[in-house]
Symmetry: C2
Subunit: 478 residues, 2 copies
Amino acid sequence: MTAMKLTTLRTAFSGRLHTEAHDMAPFLTDWRGKWTGRALAVAQPDTAQDVAAVLRWCHEHRVPVVPQGGNTGLSGGSTPDGTGQALVLSLTRLTRVRAVDTINNTLEVEAGVTLQEVQAAAEQANRLFPLSLAAQGTCTIGGNLASNAGGVQVLRWGNARELCLGLEVVTAEGEIWNGLRSLRKDNTGYDLRDLFIGSEGTLGIITAATLKLFPRPAGQAAAFVAVPSPAVAVELLQLAQLRLASSLTAFELMSDACITLVEKHVDAARLPLSERSPWYVLVEVSDPVSEAQAAAGLEGLLEQALEQELATDAALSSSLAQFRALWALREDISESQGAEGKTIKHDIALPISAIAGFVEATSREIEAQFDGVRLVVFGHLGDGNLHFNLSPAEDRLGKAHEAAFVALEAPVNRLVHDAVAAAGGSISAEHGLGVLRRDESARYKSAVELKLMRAIKAALDPLNLMNPGKVLPAHEDK
Amino acid sequence: MTAMKLTTLRTAFSGRLHTEAHDMAPFLTDWRGKWTGRALAVAQPDTAQDVAAVLRWCHEHRVPVVPQGGNTGLSGGSTPDGTGQALVLSLTRLTRVRAVDTINNTLEVEAGVTLQEVQAAAEQANRLFPLSLAAQGTCTIGGNLASNAGGVQVLRWGNARELCLGLEVVTAEGEIWNGLRSLRKDNTGYDLRDLFIGSEGTLGIITAATLKLFPRPAGQAAAFVAVPSPAVAVELLQLAQLRLASSLTAFELMSDACITLVEKHVDAARLPLSERSPWYVLVEVSDPVSEAQAAAGLEGLLEQALEQELATDAALSSSLAQFRALWALREDISESQGAEGKTIKHDIALPISAIAGFVEATSREIEAQFDGVRLVVFGHLGDGNLHFNLSPAEDRLGKAHEAAFVALEAPVNRLVHDAVAAAGGSISAEHGLGVLRRDESARYKSAVELKLMRAIKAALDPLNLMNPGKVLPAHEDK
């Protein structure tokens, strides 16, 4: 690629074009520093029309495009490869909230609006946009949709996919598809929306979305509940769903090892129960009428649970401060695990009926096969989604042991993912494939499924310019 | 196609193969008798493996395939064309309930199981499968998914799409894709499931599905509410959503003309209110704990609604018989309209904020432009989905006036659909495109959207053998 050609790009759209190494650097490494690549340039267009202009230029010059939102992904989906041939297309300057409709309960936003700003726009209209996850201050709604993000409220409200009614997408040829419908029902053809959602920028680039809003719950309550095992936690989940239906807005499982890590690394953290338990569940209830009614629903559940021995102890929040403190115990696990040292992580989903057996058998297998490791298991039990993670054992902390621990990653991944596949599960529940799980995923998918995915990719991106190398591995016979 | 070739098909799979006219006849006409076609033969395979064998045979011999479930569709999607070259592939012998998982709340069923049998299998497991529509005794779950069916519970539970976790699909080449996941989260690649759902058999044939189940509500209550206008009905909907959140399980609008038709054609029907109103709403509330609690929630809503003049009168069900009688008023509209004479129907969706204005302006426009017609407007207001129908005026009933009324269909369709398109709506909210709305839909879709749809069709069905002529019109430049 010559400098002359880049000049034609510079004049083709409004917005920024970075070509200097120091300007490009922040876009070439993911936020955790796991993947670093090179790029021809970094484009920051201002509008969907500009995105289309950039893509037409890329199409004409056969330049691969790596779309990027807040760059907070966990699977390396938004980092360019090392060839330096791709253009990074950052959507962060598409920041308009285009429309709010409080009667239809919809919000139209551009791709670069951060998740937190989306939540704030909903709140300003006295509505709830329920997607919620740790990176919300930085991640963008475009990236959330491109990766079908999950988080802590999926049990009640669904993934990003379920919260989206319409999309605006720029195709590989640089055309704008206006699919910004704000309808609950539309059976006029193929579901293009859901095809682009979760495709990680490999089929087209999301530039705007119509999102669903909901009335804000009037009150919430949370409880931190001690349970003897994942099996009992699953029984408690059944009871909670039966008694509370969709008032049940979160059901999070965590092992005592998780809470011990949080207590070690977060000053204010303390277990709200008098005795330790091998496992805990965080239950959240939301009510449209009042906080008292939310608390009453939760108390009723806990009473029955204690009576039926589905819980050994429980602490109920009785103030907003307590509510937040209980949630902090759950939300600080990931950072605390990072503070402890190197990590081996898995983002898996299983049928809920298979979870207890999986945790027991796989934990036993890991302990039998690997030395010097500690299980750090937590996650969204209500969705069947666990972060089945490992840290070094307490006597293997420190630099000296790091290499030995890191060497375990591949065989531990294999053991865990084989067990997940055998139980009919998913090896990437909410983090997507990117490059991290691309080959591993292909290993478990059937030839028919890979063929269907490749046919769709070839149909919408015949020149393989849209985030190439992500989601699908290159293959020989094509 | 020679008889010799059909002999090779007969031996290629187990199940029935009909080639005699009288055996084939029931499969060649839709249930309302609007479309009649011809076929080479009708195959009724017994298993997904047999479906695959049939499709491999069709692929080898370049024979088009028209998949068919209960044949209750409203858009002509499962009737063959008049050439007699296609094979009708009936799924009605794939009738196994393969698995029930009450902990994961999932049900795996084959495509030919009727919706009512699916509901019964759920009930037997003390669970709810919430999809519910008039044809449920005959329509099949495969057809429901292929057309993304809606119905009266979509407000709370979603369309067929939202109730499905996984699919088994036979591709155009006759390969079986096992996508029967029973997971709430799976971000490992393109959303093939949602691509096949709603594609009306034009991309592949659904042979089985994993469905979501829910706890059965402990109690329900319904109210028949008089409202002065659609605008006020929309305000009442806002209030209901705010107060009841997801306890609100149905919110159906109907004009007085609808109820008058039901009273005329159904003996037992009577208006449960002392005075007539131009519009009515049927509100249903479901509660996980008790019927009393459902009734209390509904009473609270009605009290506030009457106070705020969002309702002028209301009748609350106080027994199961009354609950059913209120629902019958709504459910009998369609049949009563049919009993009255010829009909002109529209299955439209709009942003809820646009509905009141649309109904007012479009009704006025129709009355100004067309003589001898009567508006029969009802539907799922909570989903923004109206059946904006017409019957002959009371003084234009009878055979003598039929031709004049039928001649209005095309211009009335055009007027209504133009208004829908202008308001950002959909001309087929829940009935699909089939052949009925195929060309009309293409008229309103952008060139980019049609190009994307055609690219996907060509990628998955390059020989155009899967239900050809449905969903997408043939086009010249391809």
